[in-house]
């Protein structure tokens, strides 16, 4: 579904991603871990199409299409969804209008009829249940004044509304209390199918008890330096990153 080959990206001339290779198939869950500043969010942003990042080398294909060639909105319409590490507050834009515009533009791209007000509301109610989203939040401006946890929950709610094929969850677990974590993970699991795939970026193994990954990758200094199964996450939890850093850094100096 997603194939990343030798991806290099920089921001303002500073290289951040330095040769990422990753293959993701339908039905899979991949966890990406790694120390702060290693480039996890950068990778997520590059995949979603953020313009500040300059792709200097490599290629990314998504469902056979050159992903890097598409505008951010077309990537979303093709089925890429990024749950932001820091969702943006947008005063004055009502959550409901925003979602309806988004859902209908995505549907239009896919050649589907727009949802009328009633159908949209029905869909919204159904998906709200999935993440136990409070109706009151949606009557407010988009993310405005939402708590950290509410913002994260809203990301998953939007994901449910847009039904993506590839979801990239950037530290969606950070800032969630244990109940919220369970609810959000539950939502993600229910949306999982053999036709879609999920990338979870996280620092904590505990999320992976809920969303069980098929693969775990460690990103360090802009490269995937280690890949394994869910046991790797447990090992990282126990031993930290130093042993991996040492491995990589000693190789680099030799």
């Amino acid at each position: 579904m997603l194939s990343i080959k030798n991806l290099h990206a920089s921001i303002e001339g500073t290289p951040i991603l330095r040769g990422i290779n990753l293959e993701i198939n339908a039905g899979e869950v991949h966890a990406i871990m790694g120390p702060n500043g290693s480039g996890k969010s950068t990778l997520a942003s590059v995949l979603a199409g953020r313009e500040e990042y300059e792709v200097t080398d490599g290629e990314v294909t998504f469902k056979g299409k050159d992903l890097l060639d598409l505008s951010p909105e077309d990537r979303a319409r093709e089925g890429v969804f990024l749950a932001f590490q820091y969702p943006v507050e947008i005063p004055g834009v009502s959550s409901t209008n925003f979602l309806r515009t988004a859902v209908n533009q995505v549907r239009e791209y896919r050649g589907e009829d727009p949802l009328d007000a009633v159908k949209f509301l029905t869909l919204m109610k159904e998906k709200m249940k999935l993440v136990e989203m409070d109706q009151k939040l949606l009557s407010r401006a988009l993310n405005e004044g939402f708590s950290g946890g509410e913002k994260k929950r809203n990301e998953i709610f939007q994901m449910a509304m847009l039904a993506p094929t590839l979801s990239i969850l950037d530290e969606t677990d950070s800032g969630l209390d244990i109940d919220a974590l369970r609810i959000v993970s539950n939502g993600v699991n229910q949306l999982k199918s053999k036709d879609n795939a999920t990338i979870v970026v996280t620092h904590y193994q505990r999320l992976l008890d809920y969303i069980i990954p098929d693969f775990v990758h460690v990103l360090y200094k802009g490269q995937i330096v280690k890949s394994g199964t869910k046991e790797l996450a447990l090992e990282l939890e126990e031993k930290g990153y130093d042993w991996i850093k040492d491995e990589v850094d000693s190789k680099a100096t030799v």
């Binding site: 990537r75 979303a76 943006v88 947008i90 004055g92 925003f98 515009t101 859902v103 847009l162």
Partner: protein, 422 residues
């Protein structure tokens, strides 16, 4: 000084003046001659070279005069769903045959109300254009809302402008409201020609004790029109005055809005939105004068500027020594969409009382790129996402319009302009 601004301009402009108001006109003339057209050295017109603009575009100042407006034209320009009353004007001349009879409100051509104290609120000494209008206004209207009258439906002042290049239109409006009266005005102008003419308008609003007056203005001038507008009001004890000024086009527009807070426990609100493109230049000069204690003023002006448009905001808040416990708030926010757009914003606070709460702030920035990306990442096209964000910014001003049909009309106009309709 230029050829245009010569002594006998007042004589020429007074050609359609008619009889009545001789003393008023004389006082206007004296005040104008004392001030003259503002030059580039005039502090008040520093960023708005209106005189130069008039000179460039207008070779020979002459009054435009009245003309015929049809019922169809009126119908076509009253916005959809509007259920209020309508007063129609042609170049400032009142057209009673096309206007509503408003129950409980006295409406008359100014010429029939020659004892009206014109110039007592908008004093001609304060502004040369105000003085010029007072010396040579044409037609004009007198509106009186009696004591305790609750005028439920808004009153639309529908102004048709038609003039040749170089002509001058000088409308004059007098509004008075008796104690405890409540009324809403919507001022809307329609241009029937694309010539470069000059509109110089003065509106005086005399509030009473505990009156509630709303004055909305939609400025959608012809793209070559030059306009100066003076609106001034006296706010008495327990009174409330709220204005919303929306500027969407024109060559050069200058709005002077002055609130005189003369009674305690009163409130003056000024809201404005300017969406500018091309070379449009819009200057909002506001002035609130707190002369007594325990009153409040709120001000919010927002601008979105594209192309090489230019915006000026100057907000003067004057709190006199006796005006203790004043609350005065002012905010001006701008979004520049192009590198060639310029905005000059200047808060001007003069506070002589010591126990007051005053705040002001101004921001000028670009569209929030983070927010734009967030919307795009959800599948919303870039242009539409931009429109959504811009409308979110602008909408805060439109929220202050209480009349629903007018608010919707403005919302539609603004959304169309911003490409944010969904």
């Amino acid at each position: 000084m230029s050829t245009l601004i010569k002594q006998d301009i007042l004589v020429e402009l007074s050609a359609n003046a008619g009889t009545g108001f001789e003393q008023v006109r004389e006082a206007g003339k004296t005040a104008f001659q004392a001030q003259g057209f503002p030059t580039n050295k005039s502090e008040e017109y520093k960023f708005t070279a209106i005189t130069k603009k008039i000179e460039q575009n207008i070779q020979n100042l002459a009054p435009a005069g009245a003309f015929d407006v049809t019922a169809e034209q009126v119908k076509a320009n009253v916005f959809e769903g509007y259920a209020g009353d309508v007063l129609v004007f042609a170049n400032g001349h009142f057209l009673p045959s096309l206007s509503s009879t408003i129950e409980g409100v006295e409406v008359a051509a100014l010429s029939d109300k020659a004892d009206t104290a014109l110039g007592s609120i908008a004093k001609p000494e304060k502004d040369p254009f105000c003085a010029l209008n007072q010396s040579s206004f044409e037609g004009g209207i007198f509106i009186s809302v009696p004591k305790k009258a609750q005028v439920q439906k808004p009153i639309l002042l529908l102004n048709f402008f038609k003039a040749d290049t170089g002509q001058v239109i000088q409308p004059r409006v007098w509004i008075e409201a008796g104690d405890f009266a409540e009324v809403t005005f919507i001022n809307h102008s329609v241009n029937l020609s694309d010539a470069s003419y000059f509109v110089n308008k003065v509106v005086e609003v005399k509030g009473g004790v505990n009156t509630q007056i709303r004055y909305y203005k939609l400025q959608n001038d012809g793209k070559n029109a030059i306009e100066v507008s003076n609106l001034e009001t006296d706010i008495l004890k327990d009174g409330r005055f709220s204005s919303v000024t929306i500027s969407l086009s024109g060559e050069m527009v200058r709005n002077n809005l002055s609130l005189n807070i003369l009674g305690s426990n009163s409130e003056g609100n000024m809201y404005g939105l300017y969406l500018l493109n091309g070379k449009t230049h819009v200057d909002n000069h506001t002035n609130v004068d707190h002369t007594v204690a325990h009153a409040e003023s709120n001000e919010l002006y927002k601008g979105i500027l594209a192309d090489s448009s230019r915006g000026v905001f100057n907000g003067k808040i004057f709190v006199r020594q006796d005006a203790q416990k004043t609350n005065a708030f002012q905010q001006n926010n701008n979004i520049l969409l192009s590198e060639d757009a310029v905005v000059n914003t200047k808060p001007q606070l003069e506070i002589w009382a010591d126990d007051v709460k005053c705040s002001h702030g101004c921001t000028t920035g670009q569209l929030d790129e983070e927010a734009l990306f967030y919307l795009q990442a959800r599948g919303i096209a870039k242009d539409q996402a931009k429109g959504l964000l811009l409308y979110a910014f602008a909408g805060e001003v439109l929220d202050h319009i209480t009349d629903e049909s007018f608010r919707e009309y403005c919302t539609e106009l603004v959304q169309t302009r911003l490409g944010s309709k969904f």
